[in-house]
């Protein structure tokens, strides 16, 4: 107990060491027992935690003053600064539930005596019933609102608490209605039974609130989606058309056309966002890379992707393909066609330009670009690369091939 208090004090002190050297600011530690009020207050006052706790309990006996202060501090004391979710060591929901059970069982056990004594102590008996109902409801609320985001407890505990609370309150209501008190004190007993039934309803109210919240969020989302698609339709009809016109009037490789094309692509990505694959595959990656190239070089890159792409964007294949595209953009310009085909046997990438062209044999051996970064890289990775002159002597075509067999094996294992 002492050592934990010391730790808490240290932690709180170190957080606020520079701000207030005398007394650390009043905050609740994020790793706490139930609410962190006692530990936070202890750290603030520099007292051991057990003294603070005892003080709360003792003052609570004085018409509940301590309890009031506790709740007050609980509401108004912020969490200690930090990112992690607060965690609670004490199973507060279950403790409340046990208290509820004890209270209700006590009421049940004493009901016979109340009847025998002709109504003596009826108010205490009623108080016990109401307290039991209240504690059961509080337990449900705690499980729903406070413990639910906690990874260690969460919805499963919430469900268990609800079931126990429902059972407890239902048995209470039945016991009250069919018990001896109903004959002797019908009105108070009826009120108590009604309280138990209302308690059952209250246990489920948080669920209703939660689903109401979900419903509202869902509706907001739908409205936003509708608005978005409306805007998309409008932009599609106006802005995209204009951008297309700018491109074809300005000539495919001019600066203006390239900017228009980049904008068009960006707009299109935004308009149709959402159905893009979350994980970047080879095709998507090369498409993005092509878009980036268009901004920096006088080039239009057309990327066509065929087949289910399994190749990841981070692989050697992608690196080699990017290098080939960069080469084409730098040395050839104009129109560059990229074709990606994934078959069960292999992934192939073709990068084709219509520039002046070059044959590998003519490239001096010290120029590492093509030889190393494309062909060498593919060979080392277990694939193959080939650079050849385009058909009819126009341009250059780079062909990359990567067999898929082993990757499929890996995927299976």
């Amino acid at each position: 107990m002492e050592s934990r208090a010391q730790q808490v004090t240290d932690a709180a002190a170190s957080v606020d060491a520079d701000a207030a050297p005398s007394a650390p600011r009043l905050t609740r530690p994020r790793a706490c027992v139930a609410t962190g009020v006692a530990a936070g207050l202890a750290a603030h006052l520099g007292w051991p935690v057990w003294i603070v706790r005892t003080a709360f309990v003792v003052t609570s006996l004085a018409s509940g003053a301590g309890l009031l202060l506790y709740v007050w501090l609980w509401v108004f004391t912020p969490w200690a600064p930090g990112e992690e979710r607060p965690t609670r060591r004490a199973p507060v929901a279950w403790l409340l539930m046990v208290a509820a059970a004890i209270s209700l069982i006590a009421a049940w056990a004493t009901s016979g005596r109340v009847v025998e004594s002709g109504g003596n102590g009826l108010e205490w008996w009623l108080l016990a019933v109401f307290a039991g109902v209240g504690l059961a409801v509080a337990s449900g609320a705690w499980a729903t609102f406070i413990d639910r985001p906690d990874a260690d407890r969460g919805p499963r505990q919430e469900l268990a608490i609800r079931i126990v609370a429902t059972a407890l309150l239902a048995i209470t209501a039945l016991a009250l209605v069919f018990g001896p008190n109903a004959n002797w004190f019908p009105v108070p007993t009826f009120v108590a039974a009604l309280a138990a039934v209302i308690g059952i309803a209250l246990v489920y109210v948080p669920t209703l609130i939660a689903s109401w919240r979900d419903l509202t969020a869902e509706r907001t989302k739908r409205i936003r989606e509708e608005q978005r698609s409306e805007i998309a339709a409008h932009l599609h009809d106006s802005v995209l058309q204009t951008l297309a016109l700018i491109q074809n009037r300005a000539g495919a490789t001019s600066e203006v056309a390239r900017i228009a094309r980049a904008q068009e692509r960006e707009l299109r990505d935004w308009l149709f966002a959402g159905d893009a694959p979350a994980e970047s595959d080879l095709g998507t990656d090369l498409r993005d890379f092509g878009a980036a190239l268009e901004i920096d070089h006088a080039v239009t890159v057309d990327v066509v992707v065929v087949g289910e792409s399994r190749e990841r964007a981070s692989g050697e294949m992608a690196a080699a393909a990017r290098e080939a595209m960069l080469n084409a953009a730098r040395h050839a310009g104009g129109e560059v066609s990229v074709y990606v085909e994934s078959t069960p046997e292999a992934v192939e990438v073709f990068v084709r330009d219509r520039g002046p062209g070059f044959a590998l044999a003519d490239v001096p051996g010290d120029r590492l670009g093509v030889r190393e970064s494309i062909i060498g890289r593919m060979r080392r990775a277990g694939g193959s690369g080939e650079v050849r002159q385009g058909v009819g002597g126009v341009g250059t075509e780079v062909r990359l091939r990567f067999p898929a067999a082993e990757r499929v094996e890996v995927g299976r294992g």
């Binding site: 599609h236 009809d237 058309q241 016109l245 066509v304 065929v306 069960p344 084709r352 385009g390 058909v391």
Partner: protein, 230 residues
Amino acid sequence: MVEHVRVVIVDDHSIFRSGLKADLDETIEVVGEAHDVESAVAVVTDAAPDVVLLDVHLPGVAVPAGTSGGAEVIRRAAASLRQAQDGAEPSTRFLALSVSDKAEDVVGVIRAGARGYITKGSSGADVSRAVHAVAGGDAVFSPKLAGFVLDAFGAPVGETASASDELDRLSAREQEVMRLIARGYAYKEVAAELFISTKTVETHVSAVLRKLQLSSRHELTAWANARRLL
């Protein structure tokens, strides 16, 4: 001397129509313009042009859900042309122009009867070339459309037609041709690469276009929707 081609431009943006008109080369004569489905059908029926350059997205009063204005124009104009010519098959051909990369739209107009598809970003020279190709009875395939066709007909997973009249698959030769087009090859270059004549390439492309129009493969739209390939 390239023969003269009479063209109608259908697009709801007048700025785009005039831009395109200015860009087309002198062998192409624009004989009419239209801005929505209804006016397009009237103008096309009236002028009976060789080629209709058609925007995929067109406003119209009665465009049924699930189809685009462009596809609707093709269907209605073809019907009314046939009627005007006493049931004879009309010689007017349709070339779709689109800013839309959405596969369902493009495949929609192709299946409605368009002979090809090019993007609106294409230069005037490209459009003119495409117009001449379509006027001559050829199909115009962009690399993206070729890529989509390969995907939709299951070429990457090794589906190959065994008989030439099979509608749901591509023959080995057709796949080769489509692959080369997808790689950015012009028809002439495809011909050189495969050691066949340009005419043969055109025949293959037309055959593929026919399959695209007639095939009932559900993947056509499923693929398109799922992956927005075009």
